[in-house]
């Protein structure tokens, strides 16, 4: 069955430090890949998306993600974290299945930023 794994439930980084959030997926073909961010009390907002082309994708708020087919991974990175980046981050896979196209989310990684 298709799945999305985010191995880290939560991560704490210092402000100004670099960040990498991990995401692995299980799917027969290359799916659509997304990273979303959820601030407290809010809906999810798309950070970036990948389907084909350059495997390094730039997103909003200074985030980037790299697709590695050999590792079935799509890790999110940011070179220097700001306190306002503290939020819940969701990796997601978009794929065609029975009933049409759907987006499946990982369990999320909560990012804490310390001063």
């Amino acid at each position: 069955a298709q799945s999305v794994t985010q191995p880290d439930i939560h991560i704490t980084v210092s402000e100004g430090a670099s960040l990498e959030l991990r995401c692995n997926y299980s799917y027969g073909a290359t799916p659509y890949l997304f990273w979303y961010v959820q601030s407290p009390g809010q809906g999810l907002q798309l950070l970036l998306k990948y389907f084909s082309g350059d495997t390094l994708v730039q997103g909003i708020k200074g985030f980037e993600a790299e697709f590695k087919r050999s590792q079935s991974s799509f890790n999110l990175r940011k070179p220097s974290v700001h306190w306002s980046d503290a939020a819940e981050y969701f990796c997601a896979v978009g794929l065609f299945g029975t009933g049409g196209f759907k987006t499946i989310f990982g369990a999320g990684t909560r990012l804490f930023v310390k001063a």
Partner: protein, 113 residues
């Protein structure tokens, strides 16, 4: 203008009651969704509608009945509420329904007592 708006933001009710959550999008999108986010933040798709037609129904109890009067609206009615229905329910939309990003509403926190 809020792109995807859902009401109410908070809903507190007793077990056994029937309640509805409304969702409207002003983006002109063809596809709308309902997602459920549990207390552990796990987000699971419930339903998907494309141009008022049900496309995805993900093993959701039939106490949950979505209704789409037009492609800009997707409401969720829940009968005989149970404690396990307590969650945050998100409405979302996308332009065509595949390969596109989702635009989310800000969620409805449902608490069943």
């Amino acid at each position: 203008d809020t792109a995807v708006s859902q009401t109410p933001k908070y809903l507190v009710t007793q077990m056994g009651n029937d309640k509805s959550i409304k969702c409207e999008q002003n983006l002109g999108h063809d596809t709308m969704y309902w997602y459920k986010q549990d207390s552990k933040k796990f987000l699971k798709i419930m339903f998907s509608y494309n141009n008022k037609e049900l496309i995805i129904n993900e093993t959701v109890p039939n106490r949950f009945s979505p209704k789409s009067p037009d492609k800009a609206h997707l409401n969720l009615h829940i009968n005989s509420l149970e404690l396990g229905d307590s969650a945050v329910y998100f409405c979302a939309s996308s332009p065509k329904g595949f390969g596109e990003k989702l635009f989310f509403g800000s969620g409805t926190q449902l608490s069943v007592l």
